[in-house]
Symmetry: C2
Subunit: 384 residues, 2 copies
């Protein structure tokens, strides 16, 4: 009995959803480089480069900076389960799917978790955070989402960071959809633990989660009374593999590490500030185009990397997305939670944040929705 | 300030350590195929293929068969934390690093964990397992390593499976270094939960962990009183993404899934039994060669996929490994735990289990150790 597998040929898409974003051929080529052993001296050099590049992209001097061997949600879990244990008190901000996810992950640690909620699409008001700490001064860890992928809202962090640190707590930040796309400076913001994904503004395939922990966060981990509930994500052990000791923990995703190394090199070659500027410029042009054809943004404070828009009146958004995929090969995202069936999300992340992407998606929307004026408005925005 | 990343060019190795093994160019090419979105209909088809192929390679009809988004140790953790919760009693066999790791992971669930220990290099005696269940009849989950990568020992499972099931417990098996390399039939052995890695006998880069759960294991998960301690590895949620509901959980490692799909296709094209036969034949030839130059195996019952050998008398094994790497590009493994500095481990897994690999590593060892007769003995074994 002989078996022949069906031909393998995934189509080429234009990825403008909430991630993954388009992956440059240079990154795919790195991904396909020869596999090395996880303790090979040449691989250890690549790990060192990744750590160095990550520190530059995160803008941090944190010693404990590395890539967790899982996708962004594994990064979230790594941060949460290392910082919290039963008996701890934590606060978490919930204004979308990912804040809700962080709350769920926190609750599974046995810590006492209290949430600050805001309507989906809005951001968290620093005054509410100040009230929270006045009421719960023994809170040890406070979690917040910088870029809420489900609503497209960008959360300002400066004031909240000050409140959290004045109260003696650690600040935990979800930067999955912001790292490499919108301004973020881990050390200046005094972020104590941060995680991201590779498949958003870094334009690497999904599979790794960049994380970084401040000295204060590392101290909290060192003082734990209980073992971290996850062996796989136990930072006290992972540190010894990513650090100079090189103690074997688990077999790292070697080829994914190559791809991340290359994606980070591209970020640094562009320059992180130039990259933030590019994302902002393309966002403003897309926004001008979308608003010109009558579409409305959901968040007051939109991310440059993700544009969450109310679905056009009387339009079946699922059918719209299907046509974009079938006729243009363009993937955009659906709404989540309360926005299911009521929103579309257009990502402009990393290699997908280009004038070409902006003009094409606007032209495609004009075609399918039988509207006009979007591309012209975007072109005008670019000309400014 | 402009930045240019150093040239990226990992050397080509011959991977004969305890994993990763050599990755076929066909798998690397699949890895570098265009990235799709994790909810793209074309990607969902690939997930279905992976599940179908995995069932064939595991030899199971288990509905809950999938790839966990992490390396083999994440597969271990996924099996353990879904099956155990505080109040449960578990048994675990420890005769090497990975049995010890499973015990550690089990203990982090809050379950009562009792270990059966055997000297490193030996296997677990079914009579001891029978005694264990006579003494602890309320044990719910019993874990054992099929292929102990740290010692090279192959654990027979038939009798132990009968004892475990007669006692009404679930059998949890580590097949990281056996799946696709040595005979393993999940349904015939009545294994309730099993995990493996991609980078061993499947010859795919590391980054995913194939797992499979029996109906009884799924029932145990459904009856849990507490949430699974890991959100990322929560099978009750992952089932809905891999199942027909397609409920978004986390962004899967898309390109790694392509690579696994291709690696599994290669396994099925070769035929799983032919593949087991190939591994056995190359192992016997290597063994004949190694014994001809005076080297001695550690385990009584050696795996075909991993050859753990006492380091030659008076030889610095680290220096030996360094010379193999520098002069031949061959990676072999060091000893772990009590065998640190005292053993070498030669893997013959997947694409690395070939006559060419066997003859080359023997020739290289003869050269470096100034011995002879190994390649001749291996050639003779092949001629039988």
């Amino acid at each position: 009995m002989s078996f022949t597998a069906p031909r393998f040929a995934p189509p080429e898409r234009i990825l403008m959803g909430p991630g993954p974003s388009d992956v440059p051929k240079r990154v795919l080529a790195a991904l396909a480089a020869p596999t090395l052993g996880h303790l090979d001296p040449e691989y250890l050099k690549i790990m060192d480069e990744v750590r160095d590049f990550l520190r530059q992209v995160f803008r941090t001097k944190n010693e404990l900076t590395m890539a967790v061997s899982g996708t962004g949600s594994a990064g979230m879990e790594a941060c949460v389960v290392n910082l919290l244990e039963p008996g701890d008190e934590a606060g978490v901000c919930v204004n979308g799917v990912f804040g809700g996810r962080m709350k769920d992950v926190m609750e599974r640690t046995g810590a006492t978790v209290r949430a600050i909620e805001a309507p989906w699409g809005e951001t968290i008001d620093p005054a509410v955070v100040a009230e929270f700490f006045a009421k719960h001064p023994t809170t040890k860890v406070f979690g917040i989402v910088h870029a809420e992928t489900s609503t497209g809202a960008l959360q300002p962090l400066e004031e909240i960071s000050k409140i959290v640190h004045d109260a003696g707590a650690l600040l935990l930040v979800d930067a999955v959809t912001s790292l490499g796309g919108v301004p973020l400076d881990v050390d200046a913001l005094r972020i104590d633990a941060i995680y991201s994904g590779t498949q958003k503004c870094l334009s690497c395939p999904p599979g790794l989660a960049p994380v970084s922990f401040s000295a204060a966060a590392v101290a909290k981990i060192s003082e734990r009374k209980t073992k971290v509930q996850s062996w796989y994500l136990d930072m006290s052990m992972l540190r010894s593999y990513w650090g100079q000791e090189r103690v074997y923990h688990h077999t790292a995703p070697i080829n994914m590490t190559y791809a991340l190394r290359e994606a980070l090199a591209i970020v640094l070659e562009e320059g992180i500030e130039a990259r933030w500027g590019r994302h902002q410029k393309n966002h403003l042009a897309l926004r001008a185009g979308l608003e010109a054809i009558g579409l409305k943004y959901i968040p007051k404070n939109s991310l440059a990397t993700l544009n969450a828009i109310h679905a056009p009146e009387g339009v079946d958004e699922a059918a719209l997305r299907r046509r974009l995929l079938a006729e243009y090969g363009i993937e955009i995202g659906a709404g989540l939670g309360p926005f299911k069936g009521k929103a579309i999300r257009i990502g402009l992340m990393g290699a997908s944040s280009t004038k070409k992407h902006v003009m094409l998606v606007l032209a495609a929307l004009e075609d399918i929705l039988r509207l006009s004026g979007g591309t012209a408005a975007a072109a005008k925005a670019y000309a400014v």
